[in-house]
């Protein structure tokens, strides 16, 4: 079974910019993808401090791909793509 690894940023910037709702998102994702998804919470992914990227927080990292404006929709879409990719 293919498995996707998701890292959700819990750093200060991401948290303030919407990461506080991540708990909900994580819960929903776990229900939706069950065993196909491994979720990890991490500290600052260092994306927020890159010049203009600030406004795209909160960030997540999906199998090594940095994703801005992370929310349930954006993340679901990418995970589905990755899962159906082969």
């Amino acid at each position: 079974m293919k498995k996707v690894k998701l890292q959700v940023c819990n750093g200060t910037t991401c948290f303030v910019m919407g990461g506080a709702d991540m708990q909900n998102m994580v819960d929903q994702l776990m229900v939706k993808f069950k065993d196909c998804l491994e979720i990890e919470r991490v500290r600052c992914l260092n994306a927020c401090s890159l010049s203009d990227n600030f406004a795209k927080a909160p960030y997540a990292n999906i199998d090594g791909q940095l994703v801005g404006n992370a929310n349930f929709q954006t993340i679901t879409k990418i995970i589905e793509e990755k899962l159906s990719n082969d």
């Binding site: 819990n10 776990m30 919470r41």
Partner: protein, 385 residues
């Protein structure tokens, strides 16, 4: 030797101000000064009398004014009650230096209790009386306290609790309080001063009819013990080359260790080659959750958590279960706290697009030092790295 100071107070039932006042100050020299004062009556009037008395006495002690002179000035300057035509506030003042040399002056309060090796001590004292108030006597004690000793001060609200009730015709009494303290200390030899003070006051309240305090009930405890040390590393060091050095300092620290800050946690993790783990379903409330790292007692997010922890400390909210609450617990279970504060600014936090205002780390830590010293009697040092 560290002197752990703790106090717990209850107001008289239905009053909106404390009639007793307790103040304590840790001097740079390592000396500790403390005063417990009980104002005549209760409520605001008593509050003013006791606060004036304790504040004045503390100032006098700080300046080494001879106690007799200090007491005269205080008794002369208190406002006079319109009803009873007297002005009055009893007090106990104590002054302890870093070697454990203790000096106590008492006027009107129940005599303090000194416990050593779980036994009551009976220190000698001398008495002087006031030239202008002949019925007021000051008891003066001088002795040396050693590691493990405890001193307990209380207002008569403790010893007279329940007075007149069937089971306590004379109130709870000092003897019963001593017995209670000995038993408590025997069961919990390392009980912190704040906890012991709270237990004494709560036990006294049980003697009162319907458990409603008929007087202000206050208790202050001093415990001479080996200091419990803690180090909090927060914020990345100004010079990146020093990351390794400070991480090592943290790892080698002899005491409890905490990291407050994601970037800081990441750099320590990199230098010490230890991973940081956050549980995916950790309970977080409105703060990023607590994480774990081998060899470190606590890892939290930085600015938001520190800001919230400061709020809890200032408001006395000590039983919250989010990350800030855990941090508060960590701080309060230590005596000597050292903050290692990285001076590098996290630019992202100061971006005008951020929807909330984030305070500069340094300010928060400075405020935290203040509240930890003044309200929780901790000894705090800060150094910037």
């Amino acid at each position: 030797m560290f002197i752990d100071v703790g106090c717990y107070q209850l107001k008289k039932y239905n009053q909106n101000a404390f009639g007793d006042d307790f103040v304590s100050k840790r001097e740079k020299s390592g000396k500790i000064l403390a005063v417990l004062s009980d104002g005549l009556g209760s409520g605001i009037k008593a509050n003013i009398l006791s606060t004036m008395t304790s504040t004045m006495l503390l100032k006098f002690m700080q300046r080494d004014v001879p106690i007799r002179e200090a007491a005269e000035i205080m008794m002369n300057s208190l406002p006079i009650c319109q009803v009873r035509k007297i002005s009055y506030a009893t007090f106990s003042g104590v002054d302890v230096d870093a070697e454990g040399q203790v000096r106590v002056v008492e006027e009107g309060n129940p005599s303090f209790v000194w416990i050593k090796d779980n036994q009551l001590q009976e220190p000698e004292f001398s008495q002087i009386s006031s030239p202008s108030f002949p019925d007021r006597h000051l008891n003066i004690y001088e002795f040396k306290a050693l590691l493990g000793d405890r001193l307990i001060f209380c207002s008569d609200g403790v010893t007279q609790a329940g007075m007149g009730e069937k089971d306590y015709p004379l109130g709870w009494t000092r003897e019963n309080m001593i017995e209670f303290v000995l038993k408590t200390v025997q069961n919990e030899p390392s009980i912190a001063s704040a906890d012991l003070a709270k237990k004494i006051v709560e036990r006294a309240l049980k003697c009162e009819k319907n458990e409603q305090a008929q007087d202000d009930i206050s208790c202050a405890v001093m415990f001479f013990r080996q200091p419990r040390k803690a180090l909090v590393f927060t914020g990345p060091p100004y010079e990146k080359q020093k990351d390794a050095e400070y991480s090592r300092q943290l790892a080698m620290f002899n005491g409890k260790k905490a990291i407050c800050g994601g970037t800081t946690a990441n750099l320590v993790s990199r230098e010490l080659k230890k991973t940081v783990i956050t549980e995916a379903n950790a309970n977080m409330g409105t703060l990023p959750p607590v994480s774990y790292m081998e060899g470190i007692d606590l890892v939290t997010e930085g600015i938001l958590t520190l800001t919230r922890a400061l709020e809890y400390l200032e408001q006395g909210r000590l039983k919250v279960s989010d990350a800030a609450g855990v941090l508060v617990d960590f701080l309060l279970s230590s005596d000597q706290i050292e903050f290692m504060v990285g001076a590098m600014l996290n630019q992202a936090h100061y971006d005008p697009a951020l929807p909330i205002e984030i305070e500069i780390r340094r300010n928060i830590i400075k405020k935290m030092q203040k509240v930890l010293e003044n309200k929780y009697y901790k000894s705090v040092t800060i150094h910037y790295v």
